[in-house]
């Protein structure tokens, strides 16, 4: 029997769920407290038998907020291995000026790094690293981001530089680019530097979380997996986009679906995302974090301006994008207001029972029909973004506005699932998360076939999932892709694999 508590610390509410063998057995929702920890304690206290859980998984926006608000950030040093390659783009190129001035970051270029085929650009130099370590000691910088040219494929130089730095100055904490980012030196270095800047805050915050929970602490990450507390405090940057990921995965898992479209109908918008093999399909574009370009991926989300508070044009049936938003209970007609909203139309059509129905008796069948035909067209177009011709994924409907469009979707011939507990989907997504590992490698493939390259990436991802705490039998590969380094004779290959697995709890 596995008992896990999942907590989502949102801007407004802190939600907690207790999950036993995949089923929610208790949940609680309390206002987020300024110190966060006491909210976590209170949310857990609201769960009977919370003490039975072996693990607590927490989804947090603490580090995203610190970056956006430029507070509690540490000064860090960027060390680039690969001199003279990449000198034209020094660290922190085109960072927002206010972020640059919030910290006293510094940069060093030293020898090291590799070519695509593994040949050294220059040898890592012990004396050069020692000089850098001395300078860092003199300027009281303890956080270091080390980035080598082709470091994702050939991480040895980064690892050795870190060993030497700590040998010379035991106070240093080193973030290594190959553990943080992907191919693309500047975006990877950006992410590694942001990570270094967050580490002291992460150590304090996660220690406080751990003190607040009576079990093993795991933290939600961007890719839908969780990391064990000590690992998470070494890589806080991985939490940066975990919110939307938890929401999509939570909804899909509640509905027992691995291939589905999730529609979250709120007051102002309907947000859509799609799951493949149980994980959100990522968007193609790079993610800017606090104005800094990184190469993390966000879930591919689409938003349309249709929600419970959306304004209705009675003549045309057009819905939104303007909305009364949180003023719904003052301004909607069923609540005594004078604005015709989508909620009013749903009440008039008998789809929901809210407020006073008598206030919308002037909303006749003609208006309902016009609104319905508008909604059908917009929803069909939204779904079209995620489906091929003739292909239909089940739709998982969550959010307060779900009843507004459920009947319409069924009318379009769609399979609709409205899971119970959808309002704590984020916390459930956190609770149900697995652990994972990713490998992003390049091979000079004169000597190695594409199949062998893919197999090596799979093995490496598998190894990293294991190191993250996955039970060996449960590990599966959820992403596998390759791309050629075109224009090079001999087909140099880049391969990427991601593995996930269930967390192996220590025997009790």
């Amino acid at each position: 029997m596995k008992i896990v508590a999942g907590i989502d610390v949102g801007g407004t509410n802190t939600d907690a769920v207790l999950v036993r063998d995949g089923q929610i057995v208790a949940w609680s929702k309390i206002p987020t407290t300024p110190d966060v920890q006491s909210g976590i304690v209170a949310a857990l206290a609201g769960l009977p038998d919370a003490a039975l859980s072996r693990r607590v998984h927490i989804g947090t926006t603490a580090f995203t907020n610190a970056l956006i608000e430029r507070r509690d950030l540490a000064s860090a040093a960027a060390i680039r291995l690969g001199k003279p390659v990449s000198e034209s783009l020094p660290p922190m190129t085109e960072w927002p000026p206010d972020l640059q001035s919030a910290v006293r970051n510094q940069s060093h270029f030293v020898s090291g790094g590799r070519e695509y085929d593994g040949r050294p650009i220059g040898e890592l130099n012990r004396d050069e690293i020692r000089r850098v370590a001395r300078q860092l000691a003199a300027s009281n910088v303890t956080q270091v981001a080390v980035t080598a040219v082709f470091g994702t494929s050939y991480p040895d130089d980064e690892t050795r530089a870190a060993e030497w730095l700590v040998e010379d100055n035991p106070n240093l904490q080193v973030s290594l680019s190959h553990r943080i980012g992907r191919f693309g030196i500047l975006e990877r270095e950006n992410a590694t530097l942001l990570n270094a800047m967050l580490r002291p805050l992460a150590a304090r915050t996660l220690a406080a979380y751990q003190a607040a929970v009576p079990a093993n602490l795991f933290i939600s990450q961007n890719d839908g997996t969780v990391a064990h507390g000590p690992r998470a405090s070494e890589a806080p940057i991985f939490t940066i986009a975990s919110g939307p990921t938890n929401s999509l995965r939570g909804a899909a898992t509640l509905a027992s679906s691995r291939e589905a479209i999730v529609l979250d109908v709120g007051g102002t918008t309907t947000d859509a995302g799609v799951l493949h093999l149980g994980y959100p399909r990522p968007a193609g574009l790079d993610l800017a974090v606090a104005g800094v370009r990184t190469n993390f991926r966000m879930p591919d989300l689409c938003s349309i301006g249709i929600g419970g508070g959306s304004l209705i044009d009675a003549a045309t049936g057009a819905v939104g994008p303007r909305s009364v938003g949180f003023r719904l209970t003052d301004e909607a007609m069923v609540f005594g207001g004078s604005t015709l909203t989508l909620t009013d139309v749903a009440v008039a059509a008998g789809r929901i029972d809210l407020g006073e129905r008598s206030r919308v008796r002037l909303v006749d069948a003609g208006i309902v029909a016009r609104v319905d035909s508008y909604l059908r067209a917009r929803l069909a177009r939204l779904l079209e973004n995620y489906e091929r011709l003739g292909q239909h994924f089940p739709i998982i409907l969550v959010g307060g506005g779900a009843p507004l469009i459920e009947e319409l979707l069924r009318g379009l011939g769609r399979e609709v699932v409205r899971p119970a507990h959808a309002d704590v989907a984020n916390a459930y997504g956190a609770a149900m998360a697995q652990v994972g590992g990713e490998a992003d490698l390049t091979f000079s493939s004169a000597a190695i076939s594409r199949e062998e390259a893919l197999a090596r990436a799979e093995r490496e991802a598998h190894r990293r999932a294991l190191a993250a705490g996955a039970s060996p039998a449960s590990i599966t590969i959820v992403e596998l892709e390759d791309a050629a380094l075109s224009y090079l004779a001999g087909d140099a290959l880049r391969v990427r694999a991601r593995a996930v697995g269930d967390i192996e709890d220590p025997a009790s």
């Binding site: 695509y116 791309a483 090079l488």
Partner: protein
């Protein structure tokens, strides 16, 4: 007709050049960053027509040769650019009056801009392709017999690798087996050196004014800027950015849809594949298929070939107007397929041997936009 490029124009220029890159030409993001670092706010690079060059003078084109993916770990090398320039300049004894891009599509337009700004010389409004192509023999210079530049230099991260000072009447320069396109031997040799030198080298070449007047695809810098600015102003005004591109470049909108399938394979150092697009909204029910080899080459609707190389087939993200390169294709992307006419210099019988469908292994006639 001359105008100036300023630091603030770099985004529009590279956006337009990426549209003209037809899915290839390399990611220009790092190039843009370098250009914005090196150009001061008050620097202005004059752009002139090739006719305005001093008689008897030369223009220099710096270019990068290699794998676009390697560029993501090895950003533009100023050491390499300066070493190539120094070598070629020395051989010309000061008769340099301008810089220009060998390839407008993608990353390459940045390098001549950087060197022109540093040298205080103008940039020519033109290039050797009017788009992006994968190989050196696919320039109008190679097609019309000016080979790869006289003189030229190869350089890398640590400086000069080699320098060539051939004469244009040298019989060795002309020697080739009759059915091969001109310039292909040089391409093969450079590619070997490139692979041995970390996957990325820089080729700096000089061309004389008279050769350029004959072979340059004119107006491509101003076209790239026009496209980039059109997209930027459409975005600001919340107008359709794809329509803005079509209008600015006198192109044709073929279909708006979503990517449903991408098949790729890697053969002989190139990224070959097919992308399938299903129409949405007003194009609902239409399905397009585009074959690519680094760049988009052949557009089909069912069995019907709608457009082929050398005309420009370009994919634009429908909502943002951002061009979509072949390496970021993935299911779910919402794109519009736009065709743009190739330069008349690429549409002659001689040019089609080097850059027509058959040059890429397709047994198809050239289907043009016009």
């Amino acid at each position: 007709m001359s105008f100036e490029i300023r630091r603030a124009d770099i985004t529009a220029l590279t956006l337009g050049s990426t549209v003209l890159g037809c899915g290839g030409g390399g990611n220009s993001y790092y190039g843009q960053l370098v250009a914005r670092r090196l150009l001061s706010d008050d620097s202005a690079v004059p752009v002139i027509d090739v006719d305005e060059m001093d008689p008897g003078s030369f223009a220099i084109t710096p270019a990068v040769v290699g794998a676009p993916l390697v560029c993501l770990e090895k950003p533009p090398s100023l050491i390499a650019l300066h070493a190539g320039l120094k070598s070629v300049k020395a051989a010309l004894h000061g008769r340099v009056s301008a810089f220009f891009a060998a390839e407008i599509g993608g990353l390459q337009c940045i390098f001549p801009l950087l060197l022109a700004a540093e040298a205080g010389l103008p940039l020519l409004d033109g290039d050797g392709m009017g788009r992006a192509f994968p190989e050196l023999q696919m320039t109008t210079f190679a097609i019309y017999g000016t080979t790869h530049g006289l003189p030229h230099a190869l350089s890398g991260d640590r400086g000069l690798l080699s320098a060539g000072f051939p004469k244009d009447d040298d019989p060795a320069m002309q020697a080739r087996s009759s059915d091969e396109p001109p310039g292909i031997r040089f391409e093969r040799v450079v590619r070997k050196i490139c692979a041995a030198e970390g996957g990325l080298i820089y080729l700096t070449s000089a061309f004389d004014r008279e050769s350029l007047r004959r072979t340059l695809v004119r107006g491509s810098i101003s076209l790239a800027l026009r496209i980039g600015r059109a997209v930027e102003s459409a975005r600001e005004a919340h107008r359709d950015p794809v329509a803005a591109i079509v209008e600015a470049a006198e192109g044709k909108r073929f279909v708006a849809g979503k990517v449903v399938d991408v098949e790729r394979q890697f053969r002989a150092g190139h990224d070959w594949g097919t992308v399938r697009i299903e129409g949405v909204d007003e194009d609902h029910g239409r399905a397009a298929e585009i074959a690519f080899k680094n760049e988009y080459l052949v557009l089909r609707f069912g069995d019907q070939v709608a457009l082929t190389v050398p005309d420009l087939i370009t994919l634009i993200e429908t909502e943002t107007g951002t061009p979509v390169s072949t390496d970021i294709l993935r299911p779910g992307l919402r794109v519009t397929v736009v065709g743009l006419p190739a330069s008349p210099l690429l549409r002659t019988a001689a040019a089609l041997k080097s850059v027509g469908p058959c040059a890429f292994g397709y047994d198809l006639p050239y289907i043009s936009l016009k």
